[in-house]
Symmetry: C2
Subunit: 96 residues, 2 copies
């Protein structure tokens, strides 16, 4: 599935509700999902991790929809097959 | 670009470094990027928001790579064209 398709699916499923809730409270939902992913990671809940990652991505898409940001374009511009900092592939930045 | 392709690109660019850093510290980087996105959102930095969203997605992909989670499959399983809670499209859950 393309990034763009996933963002469209989330728009189709949730846009009217996201718009009613508004961007601030939708952003808070995204952060809540980040918290749930963090908990699943900390607890080593292997089965849950994939689902929580899907939820984080879905709420990121909801926020992006409300802010009219195209995630596929954003990703293509920031990561054009090269590390955005050192411009090599693989990255050769100092390890951090 | 497919979700799978983006995850592969991040693997190609960063996997050896992510593995050296390890999953705990890579997860902390992901959370740092979530913080940067939150700051850009709070400040209304329109130009920065798309880049920060790309970074959050990239670090989510790094964590997924280390944990051997396929984001595209995770998303397809959790969001099979229907809301996972009410099983309709568009979602008809009570507004939250």
């Amino acid at each position: 599935m393309r990034i763009k398709e996933f963002q469209s699916l989330i728009r189709e499923l949730y846009q009217s509700r996201d718009a009613l809730r508004g961007p601030d409270r939708t952003f808070l939902w995204f952060l809540e999902e980040v918290g749930e992913l963090t908990r699943a990671y900390r607890r080593g809940e292997a089965e849950n991790l994939a689902q929580e990652m899907a939820d984080v991505f879905a709420w990121l898409a909801s926020v992006a929809n409300l802010l009219e940001i195209d995630l596929e374009s954003a990703v293509g511009q920031k990561y054009p097959k090269l590390c955005p900092l050192c411009s090599t592939n693989p990255c050769s930045c100092p390890l951090r």
